[in-house]
């Protein structure tokens, strides 16, 4: 049977995955939520027709959005995760016994419910006693907190839908205000490759730089995202992600499939054209 899920990565580029069957579809208050089953990628979740995660490659994204910051500052106790309704980021965080509290703010309760039901591989740890889920707008939640979190992870959708407010100056400024003196902000930073994504990346970078002294970008290879070349932003008030101390992370004994401390050092090395894009903002 020729049943294909397709997503336009640009008006002229399409990525398609053959679908075995559609498992779920609904229109929530905020967006359309779909779950499909496929041979190649296992189950996958799309929001408004845009790929969020597949069972096969989600580990890359979720490991890279959490462990880089966690290795950079082992003293992190209190974490805020914005978006992340699929639970993958929280799953990685709950592996650290050193964490006291994980607040997760997701605007759409239906995403969490759907993931709990159909994507247990990522949503498995949302019931951890340290995890508190708030169904709220990220922008509203974060402006009500001050000097509270050691790490904020922005695991959002693209800046052209419900996630739009999470790519703005007001949001990054509110995050700065909600972070402690050693606070770190990690955000999914879009892709540098296709021009619309690159513009979103530049905008985000320019705005984060207004607030944080340390502002770096690191990369990962995520096959199902546009171009496969994906960036993350690492911003902090004082913590250097390239300190030799990151090696101490290896003592934690955490077993990961993508992340390791060699890759940690290497992922901040970015191609010249990306450097130029970032420097020109």
């Amino acid at each position: 049977m020729e049943l294909w899920f397709s997503e336009l990565h640009t008006p002229d580029v399409k990525m398609s995955i053959r679908v075995d069957k559609q498992i779920h579809s609904e229109q929530s208050e905020y967006q359309r939520i779909d779950v499909f089953e496929s041979e190649e990628f296992g189950r996958f979740l799309t929001l408004d027709g845009i790929m969020m995660l597949t069972e096969k490659d989600e580990f890359i994204y979720h490991e890279m959005i959490t462990h880089v910051a966690m290795a950079s500052n082992p003293g992190i106790k209190n974490v805020l995760v914005i978006g992340a309704g699929d639970g993958g980021t929280v799953r990685e965080l709950t592996r650290y016994e050193s964490l006291d509290n994980i607040d997760m703010v997701e605007i759409d309760e239906r995403v969490v419910e759907v993931c709990k039901q159909y994507l247990p591989k990522t949503a498995c740890c949302l019931d951890d006693s340290r995890v508190h889920i708030f169904y709220d707008d990220g922008l509203r939640f974060v402006r009500r907190h001050e000097n509270e979190y050691d790490l904020i992870i922005v695991d959002s959708t693209d800046p052209f839908g419900p996630g739009e407010g999470l790519f703005t100056s007001e949001f990054y400024g509110n995050c700065f205000n909600a972070l402690t003196a050693d606070g770190i902000l990690v955000n999914q930073h879009e892709s540098p490759y296709y021009s619309d994504d690159a513009k979103a990346m530049q905008r985000a970078h320019r705005r984060i730089r207004e607030f944080f002294d340390i502002c770096r970008v690191y990369q990962a290879h995520i096959p199902t995202y546009p171009s496969g070349h994906w960036l993350f932003g690492f911003a902090s008030k004082s913590v250097d992600p390239l300190s030799p101390d990151i090696e101490k992370w290896n003592a934690s004994g955490l077993k990961t499939r993508y992340y390791n401390t060699d890759l940690h050092k290497g992922c901040f090395a970015i191609p010249n054209y990306v450097k130029e894009l970032l420097e020109s903002v």
């Binding site: 707008d137 922008l139 419900p162 739009e164 407010g165 100056s169 400024g173 509110n174």
Partner: protein
Amino acid sequence: MLDQHKAPVYEALMRYRDARVVPFDVPGHKHGKGNPELTRFLGKDCLAVDVNSMKPLDNLCHPTSVIKESEELAAEAFGAAYCFFMVGGTTSAVQSMVMSVCSAGEKIIMPRNVHRSAINALILSGAVPVYVNPGVNERLGIPLGMSAEDVEKAILENPEAKAVFVNNPTYYGICSDLKRITDTAHAHGMAVIVDEAHGTHFYFGEGLPVSAMAAGADMAAISMHKSGGSLTQSSFLLIGKSGEKFGVTEGRTRAVINLTQTTSGSYLLLSSLDISRRSLALDGKKIIGKVIDTAAYAREEIGRIGGYYAFADELINGRDIYDFDRTKLSVHTRDIGLAGIEVYDCLRDYYDIQIEFGDIGNILAYVSAGDMWKDIERLVSALAEIKRRFSRDKTGMLSAEYITPQVELSPQAAFYGKQTSVPITESAGKISGEFVMCYPPGIPVLAPGEMITSEILDHIRYSKERGCVMTGTEDMNIEKIKVLN
């Protein structure tokens, strides 16, 4: 009862489009084919109905078919005796109202904090204003409504006046006691004309101030393009049901409108009025209800930030704040040490948020049915950030947004009088021949015929320093002003 589901102008335009009429009339772009770049920009569907008056589409200057039907539907929806579709903005509706009720030399009672269009009407018609000073809120520094007592006093002192002009509401959302003012004016044989540029939604929302037509007023100028959802520049001029008793007739009003309004009324504007009226008539309560809820939510959230004061109906005092328009999101900013205009500039420059206006103590964010929840969150968060990043000591900040004018000559006499241009800094003690105002909001600090005082010059200098866009004088830089010889 007419069927408010109908939209005669809109339906006629669709029939015209479907008939694939070959145009050998103006406009010369011929459904856009003659101007490909413009067509790409605005869209083929839009250009295809940018057409001229013709029999099936009626004629705005002399409506007998579809425009007339649409005007009658609008009149019914607003509780009016008649409704004129206006394509020159509410400015032209306000001017037509004033010129319909006053001739040269006749008096009109009005608040001084009117939009410049009202004073322009006095220049055109030669009517003489009797100004009622609006109240002023000391903390906010904003001009308020007129108290009914002050209006009554003016009526008794000027029994020969032809009309009373009322803002319903002001730009800031403040209402006078329109019902009582109307009853008093009518008891003395005066017409009541109402600037409802900011009051379209009063006709449809629940729990909002009384509308001009419901209060029994004789005319109202309605900015459909503000809270009504139509295209910029499209408005209504309404005639009240008792208008004829006070000299306001459909025929005379149309004759006055036709003095200055174009004979080529845009069908884009006319159809937008028709479609917007239909939507308000059918769903207005829901649409406006959402706006009221959005504004209330934003006020509550802005209140949580601290420092800002998003004012609302707690200001109501039964006099010069007889009622308040709860859809208005006005925020007092002086307590964080920033002028409203500075917050307005920060929102645009640092956060890509454009609000309606900022004056020296307040901002106004226009809230409408088009707002998404996520945009409101952005506005509130940006205000929180502006406070965190830019707030400072408020010592030395001016507060007064309104200075009581000294009127020496009628606006017309001053405008057409012999004038000399002088540096504005040396103009104190002279009579102004020109307007000076911040735009927006477009309420003159100085109007033709008023004495220039050092207090007014201080206000102008301070407003310029803080970044207000000053307009009104012939000198585009507002460094020279024309004064009467």
